[in-house]
């Protein structure tokens, strides 16, 4: 039985990722804001800060990504799908979504291959790191459960004698 998720769980997830993305934006603005303000609306204020419209755009994209996460990983809508395919669908959706935002809000020049390369490298790196952490956490958890199972089985066998 799947535990019922509420709108508050969704909100927590969205605002958590929104907080992190804004923190990274603040850091990057401070580091490369002045150099990037000519080519990206994200850094229009240079090192002075993050524009308010960018904050709203980031909130919007985080809500949509939260929606994709619900769609692909909650099993309420899509029931029969492997974790691998779900991850691929999520990845594809996020890339398309960011592409749309980049195009409509001028996040970076879409006709500039270096910008796309930068996007794919940074996105790919973040995705690979999060996937690695997720897999590592899963591996540790599986190992702990196997050890626990072994202990419990031994206890049960001891109780038999």
């Amino acid at each position: 039985m799947e535990e019922k998720k509420t709108i508050f769980d969704f909100g927590t997830r969205v605002f958590c990722s929104f907080g992190f993305s804004m923190m990274f934006m603040a850091v990057f603005s401070g580091l490369v804001g002045d150099e990037a303000k000519e080519v990206s609306t994200l850094f229009a204020l240079g090192t002075k800060g993050v524009p308010v419209y960018v904050i709203w755009q980031f909130l919007g994209i985080n809500i949509l990504i939260g929606g994709f996460n619900f769609l692909f990983f909650s099993e309420r809508i899509i029931r029969e799908m492997s974790v691998f395919v779900r991850t691929l669908c999520m990845l594809g959706s996020v890339v398309v979504l960011i592409g749309f935002f980049a195009y409509f809000f001028g996040w970076f020049p879409i006709d500039m291959w270096q910008a796309w390369l930068g996007f794919f490298v940074s996105f790919g790196t973040c995705f690979a790191i999060s996937l690695f952490i997720m897999k590592w956490k899963e591996k540790v958890e599986n190992r702990k459960m196997e050890e626990g199972l072994k202990r419990v089985k031994e206890k049960l066998e001891d109780a038999d004698f």
């Binding site: 799947e2 702990k144 626990g148 199972l149 049960l156």
Partner: protein, 146 residues
């Protein structure tokens, strides 16, 4: 129904005789409850009532308000309800895996974390079961992981 109890200090082993016109589902439940006291499960297979060691049961499942005991090669129906079995068998290494499942820890081959914090259980006959998120936490506590 009349219940007669004879008390005799010379009796070495307790014996229960049931006199009836025919074996009804209610009587089957009475027998099943009595057998539970000596850690035996009562299951019906092809019309025959059998007594099983809980160790032999891989998992217990309910479907259409009926409870089934799954062993390596047979599926027995039991008159007992899932909650009654859960109460009696928790000390024998069984745990609740979901709303309609009780799993025997002794027959688990491996455990794997699954989507949405569930746990995928592979039994020693190769069968795979899912422990729901709600019961996964309890299982982890029992395994000493949490």
């Amino acid at each position: 129904m009349e219940i007669v109890i004879y008390s005799d200090s010379d009796v070495e082993e307790m014996k229960i005789n049931i006199y009836c016109r025919k074996l009804t589902p209610e009587l089957e439940r009475v027998v099943a409850v009595l057998k539970m006291l000596e850690q035996k499960l009562t299951g019906i297979y092809e019309g025959e009532t059998c007594f099983l060691d809980p160790d032999k049961v891989l998992y217990i499942d309910t479907a259409d308000k009926k409870t089934f005991l799954y062993t390596t090669d047979k599926v027995y129906e039991t008159a007992l309800k899932l909650y009654e079995l859960e109460e009696q068998l928790s000390c024998a290494g069984f745990f609740r895996g979901g709303k309609s499942t009780i799993i025997n820890l002794r027959h688990i081959e491996s455990l794997r974390a699954d989507l949405n914090r569930r746990i995928q259980v592979t039994l020693d006959n190769g069968e795979k079961l899912l422990v729901s998120r709600q019961y996964a936490e309890e299982l982890k506590r029992r395994l000493g992981v949490k």
